[in-house]
């Protein structure tokens, strides 16, 4: 599968444009009334809502964020003292800062993963607890190594506010108030930078001396009570708000329809899934631009103030506090406006973010050129105020577009993108430009760069509705399924709902749905290139869909990997040459059952295969590549059987084999089915499929054209004749193929 590059997404090719146009049409989107958080009139006022849902979580999380950020800013201020204590050079201090921020980004991912799989209050509390243990110990650090190590451990606490907290808040409070809640939470940051840093500085000053900074670390102890408070807040279910809204809007009863035991989606798969969500993709790229500014401005902004205006350290620090305080100005506005816009139409906040980002850069770049220092500072303040709506609007959009169960990870990825990609560019490239042309020129570049970032966000806003639609569809699907199970519906071995699969920009399956009952033999028929194998691959976990749900024995396996599915009894016999040619027959069977390598029943299972296929037993130590085509296929089938699968997917079992062998294999397939294994098979030969299968689906160009019993399919000459001439009773010329109506 070709991964898409940024270029392909921003400037889509023909195929992608058509696909996007399809996805953007009205019928592809759910009604606005179903979109969570959208509605008429002004959003409800915040205070009554807070009274209903409790203000404690918001306060506790805000305090946690404040504490963590306070110590962080404090260490920044106390940097020179710390440097003196440990006898560090400037570069040494920089290295410590780098290691600590790298750790905070690195730890952010596992923390987010934990929060997404378990309880967020727990993750937040534990992260803060570890932080609260590490920070007071900083006071006792005997060497710079111990100091850095403690900072790294404490990084866990720093990671939480920007991922776990946001995910929690998104579920804990109504969607109508999300921007305001997020803005309130975000206020901890400027508070900590100004007030918090002041407190830390004051403690250090009162304690006095070169080692005064050690006393300031005592504030870390405050983390314990806050961490305790965090364990007491209620834990909302993931996606609870969206769920309630959608079911309410669709007029369905909300009987908590969450999966009983959702299987764990792996990190790599989850990241891949998030990157496929277009809105998020655009935001990730745009945030890199912001990271460019976030790293570049502190580094070269003070260089600019120093070189252009001759300001000393104290004056520069004062300016940074003044400018940092400007964030207060933006926050309340950001919250109010964000909620209003989202209520009107969910893509508007992202457009607001786009405008804010561009405005920030343009104002900042203009301010650099102004003739008086006061005007420059005023410009900086104004620019900083633009950042508040940007942050809340992006948070809001991520919360709306990312699957609720992956929100923490989505937020954590933002940090990575912003600091790794943006920071790298901000540090290295701006540094080079600054060396060559001076800091003013380098910083002025921020203007055009943020305009590009804004444009990317604006482009991304086109996808917001489509991405929310996916979330809504998933909620509805989960609800339907739980209703069906509760009302005693038949248990299905396999359910596929509205599946879209694409390789790069080439979409192969369009809205495919089907059900396979437990214990039946089900055939997938269709023309060449209809997407039969792709469908099997998606079910087996070899390929992940762009849209839709796959359920196996009732549980959602859409984003599970093939390696995981084997363990729950799903295995596939892929088409083509699938044995391990240079391995012996015996090794093939053992490698094919890697998951069972420690289980005692493996030996008996392998022996059973040899009894089923006596030809293989005689060739145990022969390389599989030397077997005949039929024997290889037997080996492949045997390899699948070692697992004793509950659901067996078979792709083109008999292609190119002699009739005798085909008969033999068919007998075995029937026997497997008789033992209770559900079988889904892809076949070219309709006759063959019909002798085996009870029901079938007929695919054409990635769409389901027929779904029903095989006997019924036999009467559908319109479908079969153009494809399988054998069915046409001697007709030489097939009628022109029908163009499917789309």
């Amino acid at each position: 599968m070709a991964e898409q590059t940024l270029l392909d997404v921003v400037v889509p090719d023909e195929l992608l444009r058509t696909a996007m146009a399809r996805a953007g049409t009205e019928e592809a989107l759910v009604g606005v009334e179903l979109m969570p958080g959208v509605g008429r009139g002004a959003p409800p006022p915040l205070l009554p809502l807070l009274r209903t849902w409790g203000v404690a979580p918001l306060i506790a999380l805000g305090l946690a964020g404040f504490l963590v950020q306070m110590v962080d800013s404090g260490i920044g201020i106390l940097g020179p003292d710390i440097q003196r204590t440990f006898g560090l050079s400037d570069a040494g201090l920089g290295a410590v800062a780098f290691v600590s921020s790298a750790s905070f980004l690195g730890l952010g991912i596992p923390l987010a993963l934990w929060a997404d799989r378990g309880q967020r209050r727990q993750a937040a509390a534990v992260a803060l607890l570890i932080w609260a243990l590490a920070v007071p110990l900083l006071a006792l650090a005997p060497s710079v190594w111990a100091f850095t190590a403690l900072l790294v451990v404490g990084g866990l606490g720093r990671a939480a506010p920007n991922s776990v907290h946001l995910s929690y808040l998104a579920d804990a409070y109504p969607i109508e108030a999300r921007a305001r809640v997020m803005a309130f939470h975000r206020a901890h940051e400027p508070m900590a930078r100004t007030l918090g840093a002041g407190i830390v500085g004051a403690i250090a000053a009162i304690a006095g001396g070169a080692e005064g900074w050690r006393w300031a670390m005592v504030v870390g102890l405050l983390g314990f009570p806050v961490a305790y408070a965090l364990t007491r807040v209620p834990e909302p279910a993931k996606g609870e708000r969206e769920h309630a809204h959608v079911l309410d809007g669709a007029g369905l009863a909300d009987e908590s329809a969450t999966d009983d035991s959702p299987p764990r989606v792996l990190l790599g798969t989850a990241v891949q899934r998030l990157l496929r969500i277009r809105t998020l993709y655009f935001q990730f790229v745009a945030i890199a631009v912001l990271g460019f500014a976030a790293v570049g401005i502190p580094l070269f902004g003070s260089l600019y103030l120093d070189e252009e205006w001759g300001l000393d350290v104290g004056a520069r620090a004062a300016i940074s506090v003044l400018v940092g305080g400007a964030a207060f100005l933006g926050l309340p506005v950001a919250g109010l406006v964000g909620d209003r816009l989202f209520r009107r139409s969910p893509e508007l906040p992202l457009l607001l973010a786009a405008g804010s980002l561009a405005a920030f850069g343009v104002i900042y770049a203009t301010a650099l050129q102004l003739p008086s220092l006061w005007m420059v500072i005023a410009g900086f303040v104004l620019a900083e105020a633009c950042l508040a709506p940007l942050a809340t609007a992006m948070t809001q959009t991520v919360a709306a577009c990312a699957p609720p169960a992956l929100r923490s990870l989505a937020f954590a990825l933002f940090g990575i993108y912003s600091l790794v990609f943006g920071g790298f560019a901000g540090g290295v490239i701006l540094g080079a430009i600054s060396d060559a042309r001076g800091p003013r020129f380098a910083l002025t570049l921020m203007g055009p760069v943020t305009v590009i970032g804004g444009a990317l966000l604006a482009l991304g806003s086109r996808h917001v509705k489509g991405d929310i639609t996916r979330t809504v569809e998933e909620i509805l699907e989960a609800h339907d399924e739980s209703q069906r199970q509760r009302s005693g519906g038949k248990r299905h071995a396999l359910q596929v709902h509205h599946l879209d699969v694409a390789y790069g920009s080439q979409q192969v399956l369009f809205d495919v749905s089907l059900n396979v009952d437990e214990g039946e033999v089900f055939a997938l028929l269709g023309t060449n290139g209809a997407g039969k194998s792709t469908l099997l691959r998606a079910v087996a976990g070899l390929q992940h869909p762009a849209r839709g749900t796959i359920r196996i024995f009732g549980s959602n396996t859409t984003y599970l990997e093939a390696e995981q599915l084997v363990a729950i009894g799903v295995t596939m016999l892929p088409g083509g040459k699938v044995t391990f040619g240079s391995l012996t027959v015996d090794e093939n069977l053992r490698a094919g059952s890697f998951t069972l390598r420690r289980e005692p029943r493996l030996a008996t299972a392998i022996d059973e295969v040899y009894t089923t296929f006596p030809t293989l037993a005689g060739r145990r130590d022969q390389p599989a590549g030397t077997l005949s085509g039929g024997e290889q296929q037997m080996l492949a089938l045997g390899r699948a059987l070692v697992h004793r699968p509950r659901l067996l997917l078979v792709d083109e079992l008999t292609l190119g084999l002699a009739p005798m062998i085909v008969e033999q294999l068919l007998g075995i397939v029937r026997a497997i089915n008789a033992r209770g294994t559900t079988i889904v098979l892809v076949e070219q030969s309709v006759n063959l499929a019909l002798t085996l299968a009870d029901r079938a689906v007929f695919l054409e160009r990635g769409e389901v054209r027929f779904d029903g019993s095989t006997a019924e399919l036999l009467r559908r000459h319109d479908l079969l004749r153009p494809v399988f001439l054998t069915q046409s009773n001697g007709a030489k010329h097939s009628p022109p193929r029908r163009v499917p109506e789309r």
């Binding site: 590059t5 060396d435 016999l573 892929p574 040459k577 490698a591 890697f594």
Partner: protein, 632 residues
């Protein structure tokens, strides 16, 4: 010829390290189907670290060794994680990416705080034994190799044949989908394989540490790489045991040849002979292997565009060409003499990159030794430059290079893909090791060859500005020739042969002739480039044609965009032009060095030309919108 015992022992010792390197190459090739140019560098960091920690910080040997081996495993695994997103792309691209990573790791191992203190003690060894066989004194380092290299090799072999993880790795390498369906975590298996390769590389680096003044700098330079590759190829790139034993054999042969003839150039020639011999032999026995899978996965060709360019798009493209040409013509007005020289180099490397594009991009014959053909052009210039008028010289040099290219291409009739690439790499080593210094065939003065620039049509080319225009004109001619070639029947035949040899043959294309034609044309243009290159330098030596230059040209073609003429020129512009415009500095080195190459391949696998194409498409769309909007 005499073969005293101590020469054999010496050969075995050297050969053991070749064997270990070959094991690493085979391991990665087996599991990832990648020719890993970074193999030597994966462990270089560990060797440096070991020396630094044990000698300068007095760490105990064995725990430190364990630590450095873990480091190497992490470096290996990290490399795999970085390269993973390329594994579905053409293998060739991954190979070039490993070249970038090799440079990156090399720079890392040079970091100042890793470097051992000046006048430090010798490289640490776990025990000190001494002895001698005849005149050959066995150092402690020799004993260490004799003990530990076989142990390391045995460990790898046992891991593969006895443990379930070894089985899982082998299965994953054979058929990834089937392995996944059996519950083998293929991606983790691949990471594991690279981690093992990292450890293996570190072991090799630590074993040879005592014999390198500057630890493992350029560990796996082309010369060493060719030896390890010959061993790996004798093992068919899959058989660990054969590869290891072959490595020892090669070491012995090398030492024996060296003992009897004492000429490094002879050794290089023998190695090349061995290489071609091993390949042709392997083709006969394992022929199937190279024909089925190698063919598809080692392709160099650019992805075809979805449809033909519209009229608007063609106009936009032409405007672009005109603008670029105008800029190129006007530019020298603003340039100093020295800068003109650098910009002239862009055009010269552009010519060489275009010639590579024809051979590798169109005919699908991957060449890692293109600078060898350039060297032939330079030799002709050095020998006949003062006697022939320039146009005649260009023809003669081109023809000579074409003839050599056809000779090098002869094995291509039997072997392809990776194996051919290895042959051409061997040729690049041969060109510097044997051809250029050769008394009768090479440069008259290999250490410092002078050439005086001639005049053309009454214009003296001695000034850098006039030479700039000469190079530009030559590039334009080459581009026009290449462009027309692509549209001719010969060009189409090349593409057909690249895409499917069997089908092309069935359609009546003479496959062999087409391949050799590609070699001839490409060699001719490279020879022409060689003349321009030689004259531009005034004075050059064997080192000007270092095999690394060949790889540099390949990275040029990749950065620009594989298989595209525009891409080749763009790549030259990026790799030569960026430093020419901004001057060599930290950032520029970073961007044009291993880091830039890696980032480019990872995030812009279509090359610069894909960006330009998109830009053109966008402009054409805007253009069309403007023109048609009123009509609606």
């Amino acid at each position: 010829m005499s073969i005293p015992l101590h020469v054999v022992v010496q050969g075995v010792i050297v050969g053991l390290t070749y064997g270990l390197l070959a094991l690493g190459l085979v391991l990665i090739y087996k599991t990832s189907r990648v020719l890993n140019f970074a193999h030597g560098e994966l462990g270089a960091l560990s060797a440096v670290l070991l020396e630094r920690l044990v000698n300068d910080f007095n760490f105990p040997y064995w725990p430190t060794l364990a630590l450095t081996l873990v480091t190497a495993a992490l470096v290996g695994a990290g490399t795999e994680l970085l390269l993973r997103r390329l594994f579905t792309r053409p293998r060739f691209l991954v190979m070039v990416a490993t070249i970038g990573i090799a440079q990156l790791l090399f720079v890392l191992s040079l970091l100042s705080f890793l470097q051992p203190d000046e006048g430090a003690r010798p490289f640490p060894v776990p025990f000190t034994l001494k002895g001698h066989i005849g005149v050959f004194v066995l150092q402690p380092g020799h004993f260490v190799i004799l003990f530990f290299a076989p142990i390391a090799a045995l460990a790898v072999a046992l891991f593969f044949s006895l443990t379930p993880y070894g089985l899982a790795l082998r299965a994953a390498a054979e058929n990834a989908d089937s392995a996944r369906l059996g519950g083998i975590w293929v991606r983790r298996a691949s990471t594991l394989a690279w981690a093992i390769a990292g450890v293996l590389s570190a072991v090799t680096a630590i074993l040879v540490g005592p014999f390198h003044a500057n630890v493992f700098a350029q560990a796996l330079g082309p010369t060493l790489l060719v030896r390890a590759l010959v061993a790996a190829l004798i093992g068919g790139m899959v058989n660990l045991r054969v590869a290891f034993v072959a490595g020892i054999g090669i070491g012995v042969i090398e030492q024996v040849v060296f003992w009897n003839w004492a000429e490094p150039s002879t050794v290089d020639a023998v190695m090349f002979g061995l290489l071609v011999g091993a390949l042709l032999l392997r083709v006969r026995t394992l022929g199937l292997n190279s024909r089925t899978e190698e063919q598809s996965s080692w392709q160099f060709g650019a992805a075809t565009r979805a449809k033909l360019a519209s009229a608007d798009r063609v106009i936009v493209g032409r405007i672009g060409i005109v603008v670029a040409l105008t800029l190129a013509v006007v530019l020298p007005v603003f340039l100093s003499n020295a800068r003109s020289f650098l910009f002239g180099q862009i055009f010269i490397f552009g010519i060489i990159a275009v010639s590579l594009t024809i051979l590798s991009g169109w005919a699908g014959q991957l060449s890692l030794g293109h600078f060898g053909f350039v060297a032939v052009g330079a030799i002709v210039t050095a020998r006949f430059g003062d006697r022939l008028p320039l146009p005649v010289l260009l023809l003669v040099a081109g023809s000579a290079a074409a003839a050599v290219a056809v000779l090098v291409g002869l094995p291509a009739l039997r072997i392809r893909g990776l194996y051919l690439a290895v042959t051409t790499l061997g040729f690049a080593v041969l060109a510097t090791g044997w051809l250029l210094p050769h008394k009768q065939l090479g440069l008259p003065d290999p250490a410092s060859q002078r050439v005086g620039r001639p005049s053309l049509l009454g214009i003296d080319l001695a000034s850098e500005r006039s030479y700039y225009f000469f190079a530009l004109a030559l590039l334009v001619i080459v581009v026009v020739v290449a462009h027309n070639l692509r549209r001719s029947g010969v060009g189409r035949a090349m593409i057909a042969v690249r895409d499917n040899e069997t089908a092309a043959g069935a359609m009546g294309i003479r496959v062999m002739r087409t391949k050799l034609t590609a070699f001839a044309i490409s060699g001719f243009l490279a020879g022409v480039g060689g003349v321009a290159f030689a004259y531009s330098l005034f004075r050059f030596s064997v080192d000007s044609f270092d095999p690394y230059r060949s790889i540099f040209v390949v990275s040029m073609a990749v950065i620009g965009g594989m298989g595209s003429i525009t891409g080749a020129v763009l790549g030259a512009f990026y790799l030569i032009g960026l430093p020419a415009i901004f001057g060599y500095g930290q950032t520029v080195d970073f961007l044009v060095g291993g880091f830039g190459l890696t980032i480019f391949i990872l995030y812009l696998p279509g090359g610069l030309v894909s960006m330009l194409d998109k830009l053109g498409d966008g402009m054409a769309a805007v253009w069309r919108g403007r023109l048609r909007a009123p009509a609606k």
